[in-house]
Amino acid sequence: MKRIILSLFIFLLIGLGSVNKLVGQCNSDNFSNACIPKLAGGFNFLKSYKIDGEGGKEKVEYSYVFTKGTQYMINLCADGQATDGIVVSLFDSGRNKVATSKINGQFISAIAYPCNATGIYYIQYTFDGSTAKCGGSALGFKR
């Protein structure tokens, strides 16, 4: 009898662990979808990006060809109002940093980038004291 109860206990523990893992999983799709309507007025939606730092990832990176004469906006969404320590930085093709959302220690939830140089850019998301390491982002443009 004791064996059965012990087995049941272990089985339940494993099961609950799986459930907890599911509950704790990063639902970055929700965050990226939530970010789309938060693009400032006049910006046309282009892409949404998932930011999932699970598994000890230090950064999440995407690339996009930005063109001269176009203004781009990249915003951030995470749990709560703030960015939960998620920082978006923009690098040009030569890996020079062009923009970041962490300015003077302040986490900003959106960057506006009036592009003056056409080329491939890297949109990099990093985690600076982030608790959930989970969020989403949207990219928009206007002329």
Binding site: S7, S63, D92, S93, G94
Partner: protein
């Protein structure tokens, strides 16, 4: 005894719940794969292909540029929505889905609703033929298209639909179709831009816009190259696109990096980009590019 029955009952229920979850997942997987068109294996991993695909800009950017530069709407430069019946295989369907996608974006930007609905109908038909029609809510898009006040929503929903299709194709190991879709969309944007530039040869911004497409073309050629050994159609398209790339060879894009500055305005980090690019392109280059683009596009839409 009662306790034993209770314990065994709990364990059985618990195990069944797991088995249940497993079988429903399998059903979902089957549903997803049933509609898959046989994929041609590329010579590189899916993640690399997805990363390159994601970097290719939306043709909508060019349509907005044309509208805002004062260029008048012209339906004659688009691929007629009536050409639909010519596209009978997946290769042609995917390429022309991309072409019609750009045409739809162009009609939307110019708020030419009647034309837009024709393209939407053709798009839905091609998408159904590729088993990706579920991503187009024709009723909603059609309703949005009838009122110019809905332009933002219309652009948003159509962009989301195409993004969803591309993501779906990539998860279904059908990225080859995604490559074709984006290639078609880009070629059509090139055709429209070249046609407009031909009638406005002094518009420097348009010439530069054509010249900077060199960067995107390089990525498209790279993508097509991954399929050249496994897909005859894509190998043939690659050859044509390499011909177009040769027309771009004389164009120089000079990039000068200078550190940018930033300030926070109303909660937004506003960047001042101090870097520049100079596009060195002549009207002769544009004419060569226009001819090469037209040649490929004619093959695709015929």
């Amino acid at each position: 005894m009662v306790m034993r029955v209770l314990v065994i009952g709990c364990m059985t229920a618990f195990m069944l719940s797991f088995i249940g979850c497993g079988s429903s997942n399998k059903e979902a997987e089957n549903e997803d794969t049933e509609d898959s068109v046989e994929a041609q294996g590329p010579s590189i991993d899916d993640q690399t292909i997805s990363a390159i695909l994601e970097s290719i800009p939306s043709p909508l950017e060019i349509s907005v540029l044309l509208k805002e530069s004062g260029t008048k709407y012209s339906s004659s430069i688009l691929n007629s929505a009536d050409n639909l019946s010519k596209y009978n295989n997946n290769y042609k369907k995917a390429l022309n889905l991309g072409i019609y996608g750009t045409d739809l974006g162009y009609t939307n930007i110019y708020q030419q609703n009647q034309d837009g609905i024709k393209y939407l109908t053709s798009i839905k038909s091609l998408a159904d033929g590729l088993n990706i029609g579920q991503f187009f809510d024709v009723e909603t898009i059609g309703r949005l298209a009838t009122n110019s006040k809905n332009l933002d929503s219309l652009l948003l929903i159509t962009t989301q639909n195409f993004n969803s299709i591309n993501k779906y194709l990539q998860t279904q190991s059908r990225a080859n179709l995604s490559v074709l879709l984006l290639t078609g969309g880009w070629l059509e944007a090139m055709e429209i831009t070249c046609q407009v530039a031909a009638s406005n040869p002094k518009n420097k911004e348009l010439l530069e816009k054509i010249g900077e497409q060199k960067i995107i073309l390089e990525n498209i050629v790279l993508l097509l190259g991954f399929y050249k050994d496994t897909d005859e159609n894509m190998a043939s398209l690659l050859k044509d696109m390499e011909g177009l790339k040769a027309a771009f060879d004389k164009i120089n894009i000079v990039y000068t990096y200078k550190e940018s500055t930033m300030e926070v305005v109303n909660g937004v980090a506003v960047i001042k980009d101090n870097s520049t690019t100079t596009i060195q392109i002549t009207t002769e280059d544009v004419e060569n590019i226009r001819k090469a683009t037209q040649l490929i596009r004619t093959k695709i839409i015929s």
